[in-house]
């Protein structure tokens, strides 16, 4: 919302500077996002003194002057103004100045000869500086300043425009009157009517009716009372459509609008000044001299002011002339009925349109106008009669029209009997500071609330018609707090009671996972979770941001693979990334329920296993074994207290990670990527932390404390005594037929080795010509230890023999002969 400093000042004669006013608004009313000096283009203009002026020898209307511009040199300047006076101060544009907005806007001032006399700059008229229409001569400055002083520093010129962030609860601030009301309250100044309006108009008699009324030959009828609770209008005849007077154009331009014509400018002036959107129809264009407010018919069409041909959906409130649509209520008028240069009689619409209906019409038509913005948020329903009277008075004064008949008033403003009871004790408790009832009443009354005493020290507060956001006592607490200033409240830390809510279990696990993965050299990522999936498996976003990614991901690796590919396109082949985030599956969607959401950790590794180092000419790339170790390591952190088993999988799924109770925890996968020749294979790990429920905790409005589900936790470590006896070790290199898996051999070794086997490590795999075809050699190192005594060599050899017998007998596996 753009607010003009001058316009505000016309409503409330405060003594603030533009800067201090900005700070007051931000602290008490609404944040001021920006502040703009509207005549910043005047910055290069300085003040200069004319020391002497003599007639130009070759001209009867030019003067040659000596000018002091503060630079120390006297400049020769040729001047055509007859009002130049020796010793007086004038605005001066030095050589090199680009002229500000005005009738010479954009022109570069150069040193030049004028009829033979050299001129070094220009003494300016008000018109040349865009400061008025006066072109009787240069602009004499009645002030005391040193030559050379910038004009903007010497005098307050031009308006200041604020960009105020008005939030949806305060539509009453979307106009200067509303903002001025707040400034008046904060600065302790009285509101007044801007002088340009020539005084408050007399309240007039109205031609009123519940559904229909007529005046000056025009009949207004409301058929859609839900969309249009109240419709007022007045006929003004004999207007002269033309340019606006300077003051009106300046007001309209000060809030960033273009001055169009006196009639249109007045409707805009009323909207920005008083918050009442208005529309002026060319009375001659109303076929039956009728205004009928009704619901649009589906397929009905009209061309709006912006020249767009629009078709109605059927729920919009529209204004018709009894035959065809002439406006979308509260949104935009029609092209045919707009005021034209030759318009003589107008019908001025001053209505209250329903916020919800305006919003719906705005959405379906796709037009956002200043009017719809205000109707949607809710204008002051009681403000229409006064706004109509002021506008009519202005139209007559500015455009030379006369009001015909009495204004029409059909329907009634929506009644709001908002009365709120406020207990000063509760207000003080909520603010943390005692505020007297007297102060509360004074603060509230200063912005239009009416306060009376209720029972038990309570205050009964009537809400003004322009405040739709106040319905409970806390709303008034806010009013009092912000008017006093939030910054005035104490900010002393007080003791607190500890809360009853335990940490969410995923939080701690995610923290540990992050530490672990970062320690393993992976980088955390937070990509967007949108993918292109299948409707059968994925949850679809109804209104996706990008049509090519309309689904939510079902797995983290889906996203990480895309990110790895993105890195490959940037020639980055060493990618080690992980993410802890939500994935979504259809859950009960099929049966009208909710999607299922799960938190998972995903990790992807691709490229060199280590950074390059001179001791290693070629660093090996990550392979499936790195992925397996990563997956099992991550699973141990992600699923504390669970024993994890890796089961060989199929295809790209290398292993499935399963708990000892058979629950599926995640996968270790080979990632299929479209990769260039220089890139190596990518591997991924994805493990579920568990489901995050989106079921209601309790029905709306109810409280259902229940204990959280017990979460599995890793138990504390139990100490194992350190060995006191020496270990005995030997290696078994076995020739294993390809049909056997290492794990089968390993479990046979374990079974036959007995319980003194402390460690069993597979340390070598070998294939070669000296082995029988279809065989490989696998070697294990076995460590035996007896906790209380030293094992003798004979015992160890006995175990070795037993193991070999078992392997040969059960699996046909023999030791590799050396």
């Amino acid at each position: 919302m753009l607010i003009s400093f001058d316009w505000l000042h016309a409503f409330v004669p405060h003594g603030e500077t533009p800067e201090s006013l900005r700070d007051l608004m931000s602290a008490h009313v609404a944040t001021v996002d920006g502040m703009e000096q509207l005549r910043a283009d005047l910055r290069p203009i300085i003040i200069a003194r004319v020391l002497s002026a003599v007639r130009h020898p070759d001209s009867d209307h030019l003067w040659v002057t000596k000018v002091d511009d503060g630079s120390g040199t006297q400049l020769d300047v040729v001047c055509g103004a007859q009002n130049v006076v020796e010793g007086a101060l004038y605005p001066f544009a030095r050589v090199g100045t680009i002229m500000p907005t005005g009738n010479k806007g954009g022109i570069l001032i150069e040193r030049r000869r004028i009829r033979g006399a050299l001129s070094n700059g220009m003494l300016c008229s008000a018109r040349e500086l865009g400061l008025g229409e006066d072109h009787d001569g240069i602009m004499a400055l009645d002030l005391d300043a040193q030559p050379g002083t910038p004009l903007l520093e010497a005098m307050q010129i031009g308006d200041v425009r604020y960009d105020v962030d008005v939030l949806p609860n305060r539509p009453d601030l979307l106009n200067h009157l509303g903002m001025a009301r707040e400034i008046a309250a904060i600065t302790g100044t009285s509101l007044r009517l801007p002088e340009e309006l020539g005084g408050e108009p007399e309240p007039t008699r109205l031609a009123a009716g519940a559904r229909e009324a007529s005046s000056a030959g025009v009949t207004v009828r409301i058929e859609d009372a839900a969309g249009c609770p109240r419709y007022m209008g007045v006929v003004i005849r004999g207007v002269g459509v033309g340019p606006s007077p300077a003051w009106l154009a300046r007001r309209v331009e000060s809030v960033g609008m273009r001055s169009i014509s006196n009639i249109v400018d007045i409707t805009n002036y009323m909207m920005h000044g008083f918050g009442q959107p208005m529309h002026a129809f060319d009375l001659a264009a109303l076929a039956n001299r009728q205004i009928v407010v009704r619901c649009a018919r589906r397929g009905e069409r009209m061309t709006t002011l912006d020249g767009v041909d629009r078709t109605f959906a059927g729920h919009e409130t529209i204004i018709t002339d009894g035959q065809r649509p002439i406006a979308i209520a509260g949104v935009m008028g029609g092209l045919d009925s707009e005021v034209k240069p030759d318009t003589q009689d107008i019908f001025l619409e001053v209505a209250y349109f329903d916020p919800g209906r305006t919003r719906a019409a705005r959405r379906s038509s796709g037009v956002i106008s200043d009017a719809s913005y205000r109707f949607e948020r809710g204008i002051d329903p009681e403000g229409s009669p006064r706004a109509l009277a002021i506008a009519a008075q202005l139209l007559c004064a500015v455009a030379g029209g006369r009001v015909d008949g009495v204004p029409i008033d059909v329907g009634a403003p929506p009644s709001r009997s908002a009365q709120v009871t406020l207990r000063p004790a509760r207000l003080s408790r909520l603010l943390g500071e005692a505020v007297e009832a007297g102060e509360i009443a004074r603060r509230l009354e200063s912005i239009g609330f009416a306060v009376s005493a209720g029972r038990n020290d309570a205050l009964v507060v009537s809400v003004p018609s322009w405040r739709h956001d106040v319905s409970r006592d806390v709303d008034l607490v806010e009013e009092v707090a912000r008017l006093r200033g939030y910054d005035a409240l104490s900010d002393e830390l007080k003791p607190f009671r500890p809360g009853t809510v335990p940490d969410h279990p995923f939080y701690e696990i995610a923290r540990r996972l992050r530490d672990s993965l970062v320690g393993r050299g992976l980088a955390e990522v937070r990509p967007l979770p949108f993918v292109r999936g299948e409707d059968a498996t994925h949850v679809r976003v109804q209104n996706p941001i990008a049509e090519n990614e309309p689904h939510l991901r079902t797995s983290v690796l889906e996203t990480l693979a895309h990110r790895a590919a993105h890195n490959l396109t940037r020639m980055q082949g060493d990618v080690r990334i992980f993410e802890i985030g939500s994935v979504f599956s259809r859950g009960d969607l099929g049966s009208g329920g909710r999607p299922r959401e799960e938190v998972r950790v995903g990790a992807l590794i691709m490229g060199a296993r280590r950074p390059p180092h001179f001791t290693e000419s070629k660093v090996p790339a990550f392979d499936a074994w790195d992925a397996r170790a990563l997956g099992e390591g991550v699973a141990r952190v992600a699923c504390p207290g669970t024993a994890i088993v890796s089961i060989p999988g199929h295809g790209d799924v290398l292993w499935r990670l399963v708990s000892d109770s058979g629950e599926s925890l995640g996968t270790i996968e080979r990632i299929a990527l479209d990769r260039p020749a220089w890139a190596s294979e990518a591997f991924g790990v994805e493990i579920s932390l568990g489901r995050i429920s989106n079921a209601p905790v309790a029905p709306p409005g109810s409280h259902a404390p229940h204990e959280p589900d017990p979460q599995p936790r890793a138990g504390h470590v139990r100490f194992t005594p350190l060995p006191t006896t020496p270990a005995a070790e030997f290696d078994l290199a076995l020739v294993v037929p390809d049909r056997l898996m290492a794990e089968q051999v390993e479990s046979a070794i374990r079974r036959s080795a007995g319980d003194l086997l402390e460690r069993l490590v597979l340390f070598d795999e070998y294939r070669g010509r000296e082995l029988p075809a279809g065989h490989r050699s696998i070697a294990w190192r076995l460590t035996f230890r007896d906790p209380v005594r030293t094992l003798r060599d004979k015992e160890i050899e006995g175990r070795r023999q037993k193991i070999l017998r078992t392997l040969e007998g059960e699996l046909g596996v023999r030791a590799r002969s050396v």
Partner: protein
């Protein structure tokens, strides 16, 4: 000198020599030490040798043998030590110590996580625990329970991504307030970091999904002054001891009074100290407390919401928000922790 005294001296020499030989660590020191022990002119061994003729003749043989044994032992030890030192010196020469060490890969925490962790750590010190909630939410938790009137323009600020089946991607972390209040008895002090979604285009300054941190404190007698005190304390901890804060009016359907907190900081962008808005806050609206089935006369509280992504952008000088999502390893490596 008696034989016993002489033998004592010999053994003392033996013990001292062994200690000193073990302690010597350079070839230079080794030479000095050798001269001190076996040097012909001033060596300790030569001194004892000189005493030998002064002993009674009967004892000379025994004493001489003992001294000789010690001499041999010391010479052996000296030689061993010299060899060791010479080898070490030779090896040391073959290492070009200007060459780089062998690094492992360095992992990195995402910059937004760095900011979240720092915020969380400060609030955990003053009694906050962590609550989490689903990203696929219901309309009621996201809007209705938070006092959004149906069809209100306030919802335009939260342009929503709807899912099939009527649920939606939460537009803020505030639904966690309601879930927490429904599930636990006050006093409540929780922080809810999490991802939220808006129907925004993905450009340099907007993202359709971003992180938010919600804070909620509910108890008897909690006031706006507590809100100011806690959040100002947070700002001083987060931005530095003397950081000034200011509170101005704002609007959220789920807080009343509503406020925004500005802090006066120098973001290091060359523009100097200035006020920037860092969070929206306010007293929890009684309608929200009631939506969770609690008595709004008895319980009051405050809440806030802030965007760690925005803080990360200004803190780390990121010109484009998409850097946070692209997962370019060269970007991530800049936040490496080793």
């Amino acid at each position: 000198m008696t034989l016993t005294e002489f033998l004592d001296q010999v053994h003392l020499l033996r013990d001292h020599a062994a200690q000193h030989i073990d302690a010597v660590s350079t070839l230079e020191d080794w030479t000095t030490l050798r001269n001190r022990i076996v040097g012909r002119k001033s060596g300790r061994l030569s001194e004892l040798l000189a005493i030998l003729p002064t002993l009674p003749a009967d004892d000379r043989r025994t004493a001489g043998a003992a001294l000789n044994a010690v001499k041999l032992a010391i010479e052996e030890q000296l030689e061993q030590r010299r060899a060791l030192l010479a080898k070490a010196a030779a090896t040391a020469k073959s290492l070009d110590l200007t060459m780089p060490g062998r690094d492992p890969w360095c992992g990195a925490v995402h910059p937004v996580t760095l900011v979240i962790d720092e915020i969380v750590a400060i609030f955990r010190e003053i009694g906050f625990t962590i609550a989490l909630g689903p990203e696929a939410e219901s309309d009621w938790y996201n809007f209705g329970a938070l006092n959004f009137p149906p069809n209100h323009p306030a919802m335009d600020l939260h342009d929503t991504l709807y899912l099939e089946g009527g649920s939606l991607l939460r537009t803020h972390t505030s639904p966690v307030q309601v879930r927490t209040m429904q599930q636990y008895r006050p006093p409540i002090r929780v922080l809810a970091p999490g991802r939220v979604y808006r129907r925004d285009f993905f450009d340099a300054t907007h993202a359709p999904a971003f992180e938010q941190i919600e804070g909620l404190a509910i108890d008897e007698g909690i006031s706006f002054s507590d809100l100011k005190a806690t959040l100002s304390y947070f700002a001083r901890r987060f931005y530095g001891g003397a950081t000034r804060t200011r509170f101005g009016p704002s609007f959220f359907p789920f807080t009343e009074p509503s406020a925004q907190m500005d802090v006066e900081v120098d973001l290091g962008d060359g523009r100097g100290k200035r006020w920037i808005e860092i969070m929206g806050t306010g007293l929890v609206h009684p309608a929200v407390i009631e939506a969770a089935g609690l008595d709004s006369e008895r319980w009051s509280g405050w809440a806030f919401g802030m965007g760690p992504g925005r803080i990360a952008m200004s803190r780390y000088g990121l010109p484009d928000i998409r850097l946070l999502y692209d997962s370019d390893v060269r970007f991530l490596a800049q936040f490496a922790v080793c």
